[in-house]
Each structure stands twice: as structure tokens, then as C-alpha cells.
Symmetry: C2
Subunit: 330 residues, 2 copies
């Protein structure tokens, strides 16, 4: 605990108002008193208690950011951007990690609200009516990044469905005759928010219909490597590509392919989603879709700060553009 204004006042034999005036350089203070106050403050390392300050003027100048899991890589890239943007505007950014727990995410959001964060950014793993109501009940500006909870909550995202359609079009244009979509287990949909993946899946379904000569398949479970193996064995002649709803699936497939002595795109085509930053280190260069995380993050903070400023929390849906990155695995 550092010294308080009251203690300084006592030590200097003046009132705390005077101390405040000296410390904050406002109002007028006698030269001697000012000097004495400042010297005592320095000597005892006076440091304002921001809890007290915030408590009385009702502002903390702090934002909360809930992140799933820092090893996840996806959302992590946004954190620097969010932080930089918030700092420019004088806000302090508090990041908390929910470690993939649905319950944990709720508790953290609650905790941030109780700590009087002025706004919260999330890429939520919770979903559903109850969660929506929970968020709304906080009466704090909240912006969702990537994952959509409800139209009553502001969301910044890319059009994932359209992105998936573009991805399929690219694959089709390269002459593939079979496209397999790899995504998270569909069973978790009931509890967990995988909106982005769902949208991509929808896009995939819509897109493959356009190509009557292309067969399609969906793999939605953890055993995808084994299934891929089967597929490649059963249709050795058919030019097959795997479209992954997430680069990390693609990376695992690359690693597996390497072990099996398969070449990409020689033996099969591969495409990811998200353009996570570790792709820079990986070869061959993965063909993927950039979901414009930088743009999404920047827009999300800007929107959040604007809601705080204007006190207008009316929900918006903001869509940014994605980009198909045609690299070396198709």
C-alpha cells in the first residue's frame, strides 16, 4: 500500500483538498505548501488509487477482452491490435483467458463487469438465448468478434458463408473432382458457439451444388486423419482436395501427409481458413482464406469505443471483406 492523500495531508498539516490541488496542478496552492506536499508525495511514493477515483466519477477507462486460449492462435493475433487501438484512445486493456470453458467464459465476463470495465470484447464460445440475455443484462457495451451470438449483440465478422463459397470455387477452378470439408465435431454445436464454422459449412454445401461433376463429403470429427487416409486409398484416381474450416486442421494434415510420404498438391489438394500467422513459417505455403483479423479487430475496438462515447448501444452487424489467398497447396 502506498501513501494516501489523507496521510500526505496529515503529514503536511494541510487539508486533503490542498494536497489534491498540489498533486493535480490545478487551483492555486502556496509555493511552500506545494513544495512540501510534492516532496512528501515523492518520498512516500504516492500513487493514486484508481479504484477510489473510478468509484466516484464512474469511469474506469478500461476495456475487457475475453480470449479463449492463447495457444489457440486464432484470436491471439487480434490482441495486439486491440491493445494498440485502445491505448491510442486512452483506455487500459485487460485481457482475460477463459481456457475453453463455457462456464469460465461467463464467470470472466461477469468478473469484468463487476470490475466496472466500460466495454467488453469477446469471441464467444457460449451461445444461445440464455447467454444472449446474460450479455444484455449487463448493460455494458459488448462487441463480439467473429462468432455471432444474436442480432441483439453487436458483431464484427466476415461473411464466412461467402468465403467458403469462394474457397470452393477456387478449388473447383483447379480441376478437383472431389472436395472434402473438414470441420469441428458437429456434436458440440449444441453447447458451443462455432458459428463461423457453421457458416462455412453452409457455404460449402451451397457451393458444391453448383458443380455437378464434383462429389463432396463432410468430415466433422476428430478422426479426420484416418478418414482422409481411407478416402485417398479408395479413390486414388480422383483428384481430391481437402478444405479445412481452420488452418490448424490443414497443418495437421500437412504433417500427416509428410509422414506418409505424400506430396501436396501432388497427391491431394489442401486449403485452410483464417490465415493464422504461423503459416509464415510453414512450407509449402498453405492456400487459405484470410478472415481479415486485423481489420475485424480494429473495427471491433473502434465500434466498442464509439458505443462507450455515444452511450448508444444499439446492436449492429458489421461485415468486413475476406480474401482468398491462392498459394501453393492446390
Amino acid at each position: 500500500m502506498s501513501i494516501t492523500v489523507n496521510q500526505i495531508a496529515e503529514k503536511c498539516g494541510v487539508s486533503r483538498t490542498t494536497v489534491l490541488r498540489a498533486l493535480n496542478n490545478q487551483g492555486s496552492v502556496g509555493k511552500n505548501t506545494r513544495e512540501k506536499i510534492l516532496s512528501v508525495a515523492k518520498e512516500f511514493n504516492y500513487r493514486p488509487n484508481l479504484l477510489a477515483r473510478s468509484l466516484n466519477h464512474g469511469r474506469t477507462m478500461s476495456l475487457g477482452v475475453v480470449t479463449i486460449n492463447v495457444e489457440n492462435m486464432y484470436f491471439v493475433q487480434s490482441l495486439n491490435i486491440i491493445n494498440r487501438e485502445a491505448e491510442k484512445r486512452g483506455y487500459f486493456t485487460n485481457i482475460v483467458v477463459c481456457d475453453e470453458s463455457l462456464e469460465g467464459e461467463r464467470k470472466l465476463i461477469q468478473g469484468l463487469a463487476e470490475r466496472q470495465m466500460e466495454g467488453i470484447l469477446i469471441s464467444p464460445i457460449n451461445k444461445g438465448k440464455e447467454f444472449e440475455e446474460f450479455l444484455l443484462s449487463l448493460h455494458i457495451p459488448i462487441v463480439c468478434i467473429g462468432n455471432h451470438v444474436s442480432d441483439s449483440i453487436t458483431t464484427v465478422q466476415v461473411n464466412e458463408m461467402k468465403a467458403a463459397i469462394d474457397a470452393v470455387d477456387l478449388i473447383a477452378s483447379k480441376g478437383y473432382r472431389k472436395i472434402v470439408f473438414i470441420c469441428p465435431p458437429l456434436a458440440v454445436q449444441k453447447q458451443q458457439n462455432i458459428y463461423a464454422h457453421e457458416q462455412r459449412l453452409l457455404g460449402f454445401g451451397a457451393a458444391v451444388q453448383k458443380y455437378s461433376h464434383i462429389t463432396s463429403q463432410i468430415i466433422g470429427d476428430q478422426e479426420y486423419l484416418r478418414k482422409i487416409e481411407t478416402i485417398l486409398h479408395e479413390n486414388p484416381e480422383k483428384k481430391t482436395a481437402f478444405l479445412c474450416s481452420g488452418d490448424s486442421y490443414a497443418l495437421n494434415i500437412m504433417r500427416w501427409g509428410e509422414q506418409e510420404g505424400l506430396s501436396i498438391p501432388g497427391d491431394f489438394g489442401l486449403m485452410g481458413f483464417d490465415n493464422i500467422n504461423i503459416l509464415d513459417y510453414i512450407s509449402p505455403k498453405l492456400t487459405t482464406v484470410s478472415t481479415n483479423l486485423e481489420g475485424v479487430a480494429t473495427t471491433a475496438v473502434t465500434e466498442l469505443l464509439q458505443q462507450i462515447d455515444t452511450k448508444d448501444y444499439s446492436p449492429k452487424s458489421i461485415y468486413l471483406n475476406h480474401a482468398v489467398l491462392d498459394r501453393n497447396t492446390l
Copy 2:
């Protein structure tokens, strides 16, 4: 803003003391009053203001963690661990990002202290007497992870010097005749805390002396790729290995080698430091040194929490064991 205890009291026509008793389920409250209070609280989404609560009993149950840059990968791996460990003990973890700015780091630490964090974890990029005094002046438990500031500040780390010696020994045992150490620009040492790298460099120097048949060289600037090229051209017959003080240098060298059509370890040996988690996705498997981040992080939180509990902030230096990971690039 949610409803406050006072407002509930007013609405229910009772005193705030009674409201508190009802909300916290302690003391005795009449059945009717209790029900009324609880229903009003629920209706208006009562949420305790933790700023006020903390102000009152002087505890925030929050820890601050300062991270350099989430793209950096090195420290990021610890964040989940820190968070998990702190949560077990009932603490809330606030992560802030300093974005590689020396000034930023100081400001953030200050900000965390002003927000009454009960303890702070840092892998500091600042160094020197002044910074040390700054940290000490906060009178808050602080634990440094990896980078050392001064013996007056508790630090949890591995013996980097010994680790570097072990690395050199491994390289020597594989028959290399020239070892080149790649590290950050030495010019930044004056301002920036690169203690771990300095220690590794010292270890490197000490180790190569033991081998009279091995020549050594140190590259401490950004142009290392060009210099490596020159070295390989000039001594084509000499078996050369590059020991990098950080896996990301090694990854860049791998990428470059690939572009140049060089094979590892065929054309040169390569070894990194830290065992960052993206190595899992990279092939060939990089030979490196694990600096036991998990252990360091766990120990750091535990130590921090202990200091908070016991109110004994006396500085310690805690060393954990490293492990040389002999994989496929030597």
C-alpha cells in the same frame, strides 16, 4: 450501471445493512423482506461493484501479468498456465500487453499497481537500476519470469548459461568444427533487458573454449541470414552448426535454407532455444533447448501467491532445470 445496494434498500424500504444480509445470506433477515430484496435484486440485475468492495477491505483478488507482445510466442505459452494456477486460488488474472515498448511496460506496471493488483508477473524488457528502484517503490509483490532485473527482485528462470554450455556440448559431440552463435543485436543491451540472451552468450563463450579444434563466431545483428550465407560459402568443407538464442531465429534460417535448396542437417547444423510450441508444426524437427516455460510459469505464480499470502516479499532467485532436446537438425 446496474442497481446498487442503496437503491435496493430504498425500493424495499429497508436499510442497506439488511439488503446486504439478504444478498450475502448472513445474519438473519425476515422471510418477507428477504424475498422482496432478492426479487428486486434479480429484477434489476444487481451486480456488486468490486471497485467499492475492494476499496473497502483492501483486497482486489487480482493479479497483473505484463506480456511483451502476443505474437512473440515465447511468453504467451505461460499465460494459460498462470491463469489456471491463479484461478485455482481464487484470483482473477489481468493480462496487459506492452507491445515491445520500454516506456509502455513501465506505464502498464504503474497502471496495474494503481488498479491495486495484489501482485505482478513480468518478463521484463526494461532493465537497470532505475527500473529496479521503480519496481521496488511499488511495494507490491513482483515476480520476474525469465529475465533478471536485479537480485532484489524475485526471479524464476532456468540457468541459461548452463543451458548454452549443454547446447554447445551436444553440437560438439556431433562432430561439428565450427559453431556460430546467433543472437539479438548486442547494441540494444544498453537499454533493453535481454538477460537470458546475454547469459546464453556467456555460456556459449565458455563452452567453445573447451574445444580447441572448434572455431566459433558470434552474429549479433539483423543481417544474420546474409552472414550465414557468406560463412557457408567460405568454409564449404567445414562442418558448421548455427546455435540460435531463440527458436525464431532458427525458424527463419530454416525457411531461408529451404529457399536456397540447402538441407538440414546435411548442409549445416541448426539448433534453437526455448522450444516454442509452433515447432510442433515444423519439419525437420528442430533440435533445441527447452527452457521449461510451464515449470517456470507455475513456479512464478505459486511464488507470487505465496508472497501475497505471507506478506513476505523478500527476494529469491529460483532456478528450474532445462532440457536439451536432441531432435533432427544436428
